[in-house]
C-alpha cells in the first residue's frame, strides 16, 4: 500500500537494478495493473518465508522482522474463520446494496415514467392550446372584421332610418322650407271651394318639386296619408281640416317654388288655382318644425325572407 513498503517488498523478492521508484518510471495504468494484488500479501508471505528459515539473512536488518518472531504463530483454524466472517460481512453489504437498489428501482422507474408521461401530456396540451390559440386568433380577426362591417352597416342603416323617418313622417323634423296658405276663393260659390283632389294635386307637385316633409294644418303627411272629402270638409285620414289650409313644406327654399312650377302636378295646381280663384300665398321660412305623424297601428306582419327582402326594400325606399 505505502510506496516505501512496496519498494522494499519488491527489493526483498527480486532486487532491481534501477534506482528510481516504480511510480516514477511506470505509467499509472500499468502500475495499477501490475500492483492489482495488494503488495502486503507478498510482504507477509516473504516475512513468513524468512521466519520459516532459522537465520533469514536478507531480512535481518529490518526492525519489523526482528519483532515478528516474538509473536506466536496464529492457530491454523483462525484465518479461515476470520476470512469467513469478513466474507459474511461482504455478503451482507452486497445483499443490502442489491436489495436497496432493487427496492428503489421501481420507485425511480415509476417516477421517471410518470414524469415522462407528464411531459408528454403537457406537451400535447401545449400543442393543443397553441392550435386553439391560433383558431381563436383567426376567429377574433374574423369577428373583428364582422364587427367593423356590422358597425358600418349599422351606421349606414341608422342614417337611412333617420332619412326614412324624416321622409315617411315617423319623426319630427326641423329645417328650412316654405309655408303655403291655401283657401277657398273669397265670395266664391261651392264649385270654387278647395277639394281633396286639389290639395292632393298640390301635395303631389310639392313631392315632385323635392319636398322632404309636408304637413297640412299641423298634420304630418306620410306615404299612406290620403285626402278625402267627407261632405264639404277635407279629411286627412279621419281628421277633418278647416280652411284656410296651411302647408308647411321642408325642402330647399330656393328651388322648391320654382320646381313646383316646373312639375306636372304643380302646373296642374296653378291652372286649377287660377281658374277657380283660390287664395294662394307662398312664403319662405328658415326654420319650420313639423311634428311626427301619428304612429300607425301594425296591421300585418310578414316574415322577411331573401325573396321578399328586396321587394320590401323597394317598397320602403319608394316614398
Amino acid at each position: 500500500m505505502a510506496s516505501p513498503t512496496t519498494t522494499n517488498g519488491r527489493s526483498t523478492e527480486s532486487p532491481r537494478t534501477e534506482t528510481l521508484p516504480d511510480q516514477v518510471v511506470m505509467p499509472l495504468l500499468d502500475r495499477i495493473v501490475r500492483q492489482s494484488l495488494d503488495e502486503d500479501y507478498e510482504v507477509v508471505a516473504g516475512r513468513k518465508a524468512a521466519e520459516a528459515r532459522p537465520r533469514p539473512r536478507r531480512a535481518a536488518g529490518r526492525p519489523r522482522d526482528r519483532l515478528s518472531p516474538a509473536k506466536p504463530p496464529p492457530p491454523p483454524g483462525r484465518p479461515r474463520r476470520v476470512a469467513a466472517a469478513v466474507m459474511a460481512v461482504f455478503g451482507v453489504i452486497v445483499t443490502i446494496a442489491a436489495v436497496q437498489t432493487s427496492r428503489d428501482a421501481p420507485e425511480a422507474t415509476a417516477s421517471r415514467a410518470s414524469l415522462v408521461l407528464q411531459v408528454q401530456a403537457r406537451r400535447d396540451n401545449v400543442a393543443g392550446l397553441q392550435a386553439r390559440l391560433e383558431r381563436l386568433r383567426e376567429s377574433t380577426t374574423d369577428l373583428r372584421t364582422t364587427v367593423a362591417q356590422g358597425t358600418e352597416d349599422q351606421q349606414a342603416l341608422a342614417a337611412r332610418v333617420e332619412r326614412l323617418e324624416g321622409r315617411t313622417g315617423f319623426a319630427p323634423v326641423t329645417g328650412p322650407g316654405i309655408r303655403i296658405t291655401v283657401d277657398d276663393a273669397p265670395q266664391g260659390d261651392v264649385a270654387q271651394t278647395v277639394r281633396d283632389s286639389d290639395l292632393a294635386t298640390l301635395v303631389d307637385g310639392l313631392w315632385d318639386a323635392g319636398a322632404e316633409a309636408i304637413s297640412v294644418n299641423g298634420k304630418r303627411l306620410t306615404a299612406l296619408t290620403a285626402f278625402r272629402n267627407v261632405g264639404p270638409a277635407i279629411h286627412i285620414g279621419i281628421t277633418p281640416l278647416v280652411p284656410p289650409y296651411t302647408l308647411l313644406v321642408i325642402g330647399d327654399p330656393d328651388t322648391l317654388a320654382a320646381n313646383l312650377l316646373d312639375s306636372t302636378f304643380g302646373q296642374r295646381w296653378y291652372a286649377l288655382k287660377d281658374s277657380l280663384g283660390f287664395v294662394y300665398d307662398i312664403k319662405t321660412d328658415n326654420s319650420l318644425t313639423l311634428p311626427a305623424a301619428r304612429p300607425r297601428r301594425l296591421r300585418a306582419v310578414r316574415l322577411l325572407t331573401d325573396e321578399t327582402k328586396s321587394s320590401a326594400q323597394e317598397e320602403v325606399s319608394t316614398p
Binding site: M1, A84, M87, G91, T95
Partner: protein, 110 residues
C-alpha cells in the same frame, strides 16, 4: 470452503434482515461494494498464489471500503463526487479485472 459458507451466510442474513440503509450512507454503498469486491478478489488471488494471509485480507477489505467511501464523500463535499467516484471505480475495476485474470490463469491454467 468456509469462506464460501461465510459468504452464503452473509447473503442469507442480508436477505432475511433487509436492514434499511440510512439515507446519508446510501450513495456510498455501491462504491463500498466495488471496493469490497476488489479486496475479495485480491484475497482469492492471494489464496490461489498461496500467499493468503487473514490479517492482510481483513485490513485490506475494511480499508478499501472505508477509503473508497471517504474519497466519494470528500468528492461530494467538494462538488466533484461524480468524477471522483468514476475515478475510484475505474481503478478498482482495473484491479478487479487483472486479479480475475490471474485467478483464471490459476484455475484453468490458461
Amino acid at each position: 470452503m468456509i469462506a464460501a459458507v461465510g459468504l452464503l451466510v452473509g447473503v442469507i442474513l442480508g436477505l432475511v434482515l433487509q436492514p434499511d440503509v440510512p439515507i446519508g450512507l446510501e450513495p456510498y454503498l455501491p462504491i463500498a461494494v466495488v471496493a469490497a469486491l476488489d479486496a475479495v478478489f485480491g484475497g482469492l488471488r492471494a489464496y490461489l498464489d498461496g500467499i493468503f494471509d487473514d490479517k492482510v485480507f481483513v485490513v485490506s477489505f475494511f480499508s478499501n471500503v472505508v477509503i473508497a467511501a471517504a474519497i466519494v464523500y470528500l468528492g461530494d463535499q467538494l462538488g466533484v463526487g461524480g468524477q471522483l467516484s468514476t475515478g475510484v471505480i475505474v481503478v478498482l475495476g482495473i484491479r478487479i479485472f487483472s486479479n480475475v485474470a490471474a485467478i483464471r490463469r490459476h484455475l484453468f491454467h490458461a
